[in-house]
């Protein structure tokens, strides 16, 4: 993919959150939530984003939909041949942006408005964009409820979020994001509360939209089996950095970065007779606060050596066939 073909192009993206800032008091330190990301997603592609809890996945998603201001770097998106600089959108481009880009939020207990019925929640993007009359909207909402397995739709349309189970809320959030046929969807753990069977049909639905309507995804998940199914390429994050990126099967079958290896060895196995060999990284708590200039994984890495301490965080380098790894010892 040349950079002009990409639907999304992220360059040097950073987000720092000030810590201990007060009234008239400058912050004394910063959380480096997202610390210099570079990646691109081709039209119709699905990039999986996995990584440790607190590594900056949701923050990345929110920067891409402009829910947070970018500290540094650029996000470009291209729709119908027109390139948008997301941090500096013209007013006239705002509406296009909102129509084309949707985010499914991580927490369905927080993201659905408790005072809106399911119908109003899902129809809202249609109403905002003035698409169809009320009847068209009802038909479209019912169609989506069926697709996400909430049927018959009539029994769900006028419920409120608190009258739904966790997984049912997640499916409402998915329906809402897909209702206006967006071109780019950032899905943040969209199926984390769904059982395998329903999750599979939702993943199939999202994939069909990908192939039929060319929807592009940034798919955030901690479930590697889901990532395997949903994404063509996979990026692994650790403390604000991408530490490994490549074709999904390649990364899962031949992980190179010590963190990715540990992650794969920790995947639970559905068999009570199975006893796992303990994960090969040191315990410990990762701190994204004012990181010292060395490899971010140094404290926990089983391979850590002097070179990793004496140098700044290693660059993300192509180790052959577009399999990128950020590690001095690979």
């Amino acid at each position: 993919m040349t950079s002009s073909e990409a639907l999304v192009r992220v360059e040097g993206l950073r987000k720092l959150f000030p810590l201990n800032a007060g009234f008239l008091r400058a912050p004394t330190s910063f959380i480096h939530a997202v610390d210099g990301l570079d990646f691109a997603i081709a039209p119709g592609e699905s990039l999986g984003l996995v990584g440790e809890s607190g590594s900056g996945k949701t923050t990345t998603g929110k920067l891409l939909v402009r829910l947070l201001d970018i500290t540094a770097g650029h996000v470009f998106m291209q729709f119908d041949g027109q390139v948008l600089d997301v941090a500096r959108l013209q007013r006239s481009d705002s509406k296009t942006f909102r129509r084309k880009v949707q985010m499914i939020f991580q927490d369905p207990y927080e993201s659905l408005n408790p005072r809106r019925t399911i119908f109003d929640t899902i129809a809202e993007p249609l109403q905002v964009q003035n698409i169809g009359n009320v009847l068209d909207q009802q038909e479209r909402v019912a169609e989506l409820l069926n697709l996400v397995g909430l049927s018959p739709p009539s029994t769900y349309l006028f419920r409120f979020p608190h009258e739904l189970s966790g997984g049912q809320r997640q499916r409402v959030a998915i329906a809402r994001a897909l209702v206006i046929n967006p071109a780019f969807v950032i899905a943040d753990e969209p199926t984390s509360m769904l059982d395998v069977s329903i999750r599979t049909s939702i993943m199939q639905l999202m994939q069909n939209l990908g192939t039929q309507l060319g929807v592009t995804y940034l798919y955030i998940t901690h479930d590697l089996a889901v990532a395997r199914y949903m994404s063509t390429r996979l990026a692994v994050m650790y403390l604000g950095k991408i530490v490994e990126m490549g074709a999904t099967e390649e990364v899962l079958q031949r992980p190179q970065h010590p963190y990715t290896k540990a992650l794969l060895s920790a995947v639970p196995v559905p068999d009570p007779r199975w006893t796992r060999t303990p994960v090969e990284i040191k315990g410990g708590i990762s701190k994204p606060i004012d990181p010292v200039p060395r490899c971010r994984f140094y404290d926990r890495c089983p391979l850590a050596a002097k070179v990793c301490e004496d140098n700044d965080h290693p660059p993300l380098e192509d180790k052959g066939s577009e399999h990128y790894v950020a590690c001095y010892r690979v």
């Binding site: 927080e110 739904l164 059982d195 395998v196 009570p272 007779r273 708590i285």
Partner: protein, 324 residues
Amino acid sequence: MSETILRVENLTMHYTTRAGIVSAVDDVSFTLDEGESLGLVGESGCGKTSVANSLLKLLADNAVIKGGQIRFKGTDFVPLSEEEMRPYRWRNISMVFQAAMNSLNPVYRVGDQIIEALETHLGLYSHAQARQRVTELFTMVGLDPALMDQYPHEYSGGMRQRAVIAMALSCNPDLVIADEPTTALDVIVQDALLRQLKTLQEMIGMSMIYISHDIAVIAEVSDRIGVMYAGKLVELASADEIFHHPVHPYTVALMSAFPSVTGPKRELQTLAGEPPNLLYPPSGCRFHPRCPFATEICRQQEPEFKDHGGGHYAACWHPQEVTV
């Protein structure tokens, strides 16, 4: 033999809605021993959270317990008033809500919320001791204690989940009910946390009810597993039995649908047919519209939930004999 601390008998709970009655928990019975962990699995919307909330009687306004008993150390919770229930919550039984990420109060610092729980329920902490205890709890769940003075919105999803787990463990309860507690955690943190919970169980004899849609996680934490379908408990047995000799056709389907991360990439399977709508649960066995083994009797009569040998309970007219 360890003592039975919880005995649930014929528990039935409904939600009343404009469209009719949602039969979310129907005639559910199980027991839980001291130090035991029971996993609860089942499709989205089958009633797992409803069972959990009923146990502590933390119910939605439109929920009614229609019948049954919830005996905790001999006391039946069902007839108790709000006032009478309160002393049991947190101290004896604590809960990690499915809405964990959203159950912290946004206007207070996370550490202070745990300190408040400690002071309200145990009441014997000095401020310094309480902070010390929070530091311990944070470390236990893999959170940097330096984050104790931050607000919930400054936490990631997984960090909030861990804070809520820390809060649930704060008063050393006899029983922890954890409803999808690791949905936002990476597998390494999840693994560490599950180990920690296991250790606590062994150390202080804590019992646990662990709800998850992820059968691999359930396999790791549970001594026994209950499988729910459409408001019913359809199978209950040791973890090993459920995984290797499931009897109920729904459990059999559940066990064979699990995708793998490193093995050959298979086509993913879904369960044929529609998930049931609990406003109109199917007649007879609630699984019959989707069951490949259904016969006339399944459509007519509800199968009894009974012991198929060695404490392996199931509700099915045509129990399967499979080895997985």
